[in-house]
């Protein structure tokens, strides 16, 4: 099991809001594919999946805030 986490977006940025998931639970995602969009005050950032697999669970939903490093979703890797 792997987790998509909110990446470090730079100095002084501690949080971001999940704007939208491009996939829903059960969808297959490829490694490196943008899986969701997060937003800070003036920037939209596309978060890629670090592994290929099935998006098993969305942990932080659209409109919710997350901290840097926080797990946003869970991916079951495909072998």
């Amino acid at each position: 099991m792997s987790f998509v986490t909110l990446p470090d977006l730079g100095e002084g940025i501690e949080r971001a809001i999940v704007a939208c998931w491009y996939f829903k639970e059960g969808d297959v995602v490829e490694e490196g594919e943008d899986i969701l969009e997060v937003v800070t005050d003036k920037a939209v950032f596309n978060v890629p999946s670090i592994t290929g697999g099935v998006l098993r669970k969305v942990l932080v939903k659209d409109g919710q805030e997350a901290r840097i490093g926080e797990a946003l979703g869970e991916i079951r890797e495909t072998n």
Binding site: L9, T40, K42
Partner: protein, 219 residues
């Protein structure tokens, strides 16, 4: 040799163009830069359009009827920030930059864009500054440049809009950036017409200096 390639960037002037057409060009540039192509600076003016960033609130579009009667479209876009308006006379700057070449830091990049606008305005004798907590560029408390970006695979898109000789009355249709503010322009501050061509030239110079890059003009 590799250093020269990394430091060169293309400048493409799209002139006066529809927002949707520019958006498609931006996206093509982003994919090209992600694939290793040359970083690109797109310059343009847009036909009147209101864009809603990801954090935009409906209430900040003040009069949908007045907007519709003027034939102005409202479009939701994948940039940060609230509502803004583009109109002829506003220089819109879309740098498609690989932030990995500089710093993977969104605040740093926004700060750099502000500095490019501040430096540009200074060449026209306009002293502009930042206001802490309010991204953008300001002159005596009035906003002259707005900023909102998108980032994909650490390649930045969207960017900066500077009011050169924009009709400022159109901003009455919205609450720019969701704030109770007044907008200003270079023409208003100078009290005389400011030539868009000259602003573009100096913008490219300030951008090259600010990011340590060398421009290559594409037509």
């Amino acid at each position: 040799m590799l250093g020269a390639l990394v430091n060169n960037y293309h400048v493409q002037d799209l002139s006066l163009i529809d927002y949707a057409a520019t958006y498609r060009i931006q996206k093509e540039c982003v994919e090209r830069v992600i694939a290793g192509g040359a970083q690109t600076l797109l310059l343009c003016e847009h036909l009147p359009v209101i864009t809603l960033g990801r954090l935009a609130k409906e209430a900040n579009v003040l009069s949908r009827e007045a907007i519709a009667s003027k034939g102005i479209r409202i479009i939701s876009v994948d940039r940060g920030g609230d509502v803004t308006l583009h109109s002829p006379g506003q220089l819109v700057v879309y740098p498609i930059l690989r932030l990995e070449n500089f710093k993977k830091d969104l605040r740093w990049y926004l700060h750099q864009l502000e500095q490019v606008a501040i430096d540009l305005l200074m060449t026209f004798g306009i002293v502009a500054d930042r206001i802490p907590g309010k991204t953008g560029v300001w002159v005596d408390g009035e906003k002259i440049a707005s900023i909102g970006i998108g980032v994909k695979k650490w390649v930045a898109f969207h960017g900066l809009a500077i009011n050169v000789c924009t009709d400022l009355e159109v901003f009455d249709l919205i609450k720019p950036c969701g704030l109770d503010i007044r907008m200003t322009s270079m023409t208003r501050l100078k009290g005389e017409p400011v030539d868009m061509g000259g602003v573009k030239e100096r913008l490219v110079e300030c951008f090259s200096r600010g990011f340590g890059l060398k421009s290559e003009i594409r037509v």
